[in-house]
Symmetry: C2
Subunit: 422 residues, 2 copies
């Protein structure tokens, strides 16, 4: 039986007709390898920004339903153009939007989750030898309402299609060459990882490495879909393969270092040391859809019988968070301030290999101490250690950790784009 390969191309890979021709070549090459090919594409380049701009001109708060109707047109353009470009090379191709395929999602706008993908039409067209081009990012409810999947949606579409079709692999083509040991814009001799486990990738993604959206990695992990991240423009480079930790040999304790500059630290001071207080705070925040990352509760002060609860949130959620906490303050009997510190960064080391190798955490802490970088909070998981440091120390911390865990490459990574604000 022929193998199915799902390929996904993001907006920068299809931003003009020349780039679409390049994508057509990549797609045809995979077909020529003897595989059945399903291609998922995003909207062209800045289409989405342009559509959002017009919507904002018409309404300060456009309805989610109409926004999804609007944005889904972006992929409608790119799928048809790519199908034409493939046909122009003499291959059979057919494009489908999410409604035509039956990419069924829950009835939620702007961030729907995929429930089910119908495969009859896809399998029939693959059987007829056609290359199939599917619109990413979009879905449809059982009632025929158009939805979109939110950030990283096209990656998720591709992985979900790969799972539904029992694909051999899902290749995510993008403008970076793979997953690096850290952001190559910060550390020019960061190494590209040949392979990484889903778990490590998830921690790196959450830790601020913007290669793949965590949702797509979660989906790949859940359905055991091997994912490859590679460049649309440098085809001699195979990128990074992301797969189950059971399928890879862990040869290194630390896979990568990441910094996340988008968090803010909140401290709720002098809350009574009694059961249920933390639960009240975090259930209130959950109700407001505020994601909390690191959480530290201090030991109770003997005299006042109070403690401090510190946690980090996404800086975008700051106004909502402060409002929610002010509302809650008297209810929980907090007598102190609510302190807000935006001048922080979360620096993390990630590696499935650290599970059975002691001393990784202490090496991290010592490295930061040697640089005279103060650690303000620590959190750990089985395969990650994160330290909260001052924002202006993040770059030094990343560079030193990258070096001490021997992640450097002999080559300087070729990256485009501006340095992130570290």
């Amino acid at each position: 039986m022929r193998k199915v390969i799902v390929q996904k191309f993001g907006g920068t890979s299809v931003s003009d007709t020349d780039k679409i021709k390049n994508v057509a070549k990549i797609v045809i090459k995979e077909k020529e390898n003897g595989n059945d090919v399903v291609v998922v594409v995003s909207a062209m380049g800045h289409t989405t920004d342009y559509l959002v701009k017009m919507a904002k001109e018409l309404s300060p708060m456009p309805s989610g339903r109409e926004m999804d109707m609007l944005l889904s047109t972006g992929e409608g353009v790119s799928i048809a153009l790519l199908a034409m470009a493939i046909q122009a090379q003499g291959y059979e191709a057919v494009s489908f939007n999410a409604m035509q395929v039956g990419i069924i999602t829950e009835n939620v706008h702007s961030k729907a989750r995929i429930i089910n993908i119908k495969t009859d039409k896809l399998r029939q067209n693959l059987k007829e030898g056609k290359i199939i081009v599917v619109a990413g990012f979009q879905g449809v409810t059982e009632d025929g309402e158009i939805t979109t999947l939110g950030r990283g949606g096209s990656d998720t579409s591709a992985v979900a299609l790969a799972a539904a079709l029992n694909a051999e692999r899902c290749d995510i083509y993008t403008d970076v060459e793979g997953v690096y040991t850290t952001d190559p814009r910060v550390v020019p001799n960061a190494s590209r990882l040949e392979s990484i486990s889903y778990e490590e990738m998830l921690e790196l993604a959450h830790a601020g490495a913007n290669v793949l959206h965590p949702r797509s990695v979660e989906t790949a992990k859940q359905f055991h879909v091997p994912l490859r991240v590679r460049s649309s423009f440098k085809l001699d480079n195979l990128g990074t393969l992301i797969l189950g930790v059971d399928k890879m040999e862990i040869y290194r304790p630390v896979a990568g270092v990441a910094a996340d500059l988008s968090q803010t630290r909140i401290v709720v001071c002098d809350v009574p040391d009694k059961p249920g207080v933390a639960a009240k705070i975090f259930s209130k925040l959950a109700k407001e859809h505020i994601s909390v990352d690191m959480i530290i509760q201090s030991y109770a002060r003997k005299i006042s019988n109070t403690n401090d609860i510190a946690f980090t949130i996404d800086t975008n959620d700051l106004p909502k968070t402060v409002t929610a906490l002010e509302e809650l303050k008297s209810e929980i009997g907090a007598t102190g301030d609510i302190q807000v510190d935006e001048n922080i960064a979360k620096v993390s080391i990630v590696g499935a290999g650290m599970i059975d190798r002691p001393g990784i955490a202490s090496t991290m802490f010592e490295t930061l101490a040697d640089l005279n970088i103060n650690i303000r909070m620590i959190s750990t998981s089985e395969i990650k250690i994160s330290c909260l440091v001052d924002k202006d120390q993040a770059e030094r911390a990343v560079k030193a950790l990258h070096k001490v865990f021997e992640l450097e490459s002999d080559e300087v990574a070729d990256v485009k784009g501006d340095l992130p604000n570290v």
Copy 2:
């Protein structure tokens, strides 16, 4: 029971967000009149040209299916934006593409005909008090393939929706103020007609007046849908109402004068005067999808027992026509040349009132004779008389006929755009 009004806005009426806001106001005003409103919109301004340009960059002959996938995205944008603009004014609105409504067409790309329109979703949403915005120009086959309706498609969508919903009226908003007695760019004091019959409108449309596509008028006539053509920008002007001839009082013998400069005259000389020759010629042309307009067969010459067959075609079809006739020449035994004359214009007068008023034709011929304009062919229908004249005489002919049939207005029509090439 509330009345349903269908409104249609073309590309120039929704070409930017300010114009979309203007359309929202017109829509809301109709809703405030106590009617249920269904709005049909075309793609914004030059969207279609832009999409076609990209398609041409990718493929010299893009497949019809993918072209329809591509072009249908244009209305996807305008329907969502208009729904948002209506919502921003505090009214409930919902947009649907053709697939969501169920505007079912035959399985033909780029010029599909509507077979059926499902009305359950529309009626349900109208019942809920919502203003419905529907994508014009597009349809879907029973198998879920996206189709487009070809030239004048959005007008046809609007009329078909009005028929399906048993609407009170279908208002076509456009950039002209209505149907005029002749092209106001040629005759500045042309009068706007307050009403005109479907039949007259069809003849005027075929005769070259570009206000409405004949297909939409045919559909309106078939389903007895009153049509109003009016300006999106001058709302104090009610435009022109198009309705059944049985419902209007015919107070004028001639409703309008039109010139069509897009035709070419073909003469097949010296064909044998025997049965079946004309049939062979015109069935061959029909097979090649070449529409023939005026046809004249001369009296047979007694000596040679041959005659000439002359007819007019759309100039765009000229190369196809010549090829087809050359192929046919020996088969039908034509011994003469195939003459081609592009330097012609068809000037027509149209009026349901001419049926029972003699002397209209002679007035037309005399008027042209007085101007020393040679009539090269004549064809007549119940409500139209067309004369073929030299192209450079068309403007003089139109002006004189407009005057002799007393079609002038006291006011000078306010029109934009360049003079057509007369």
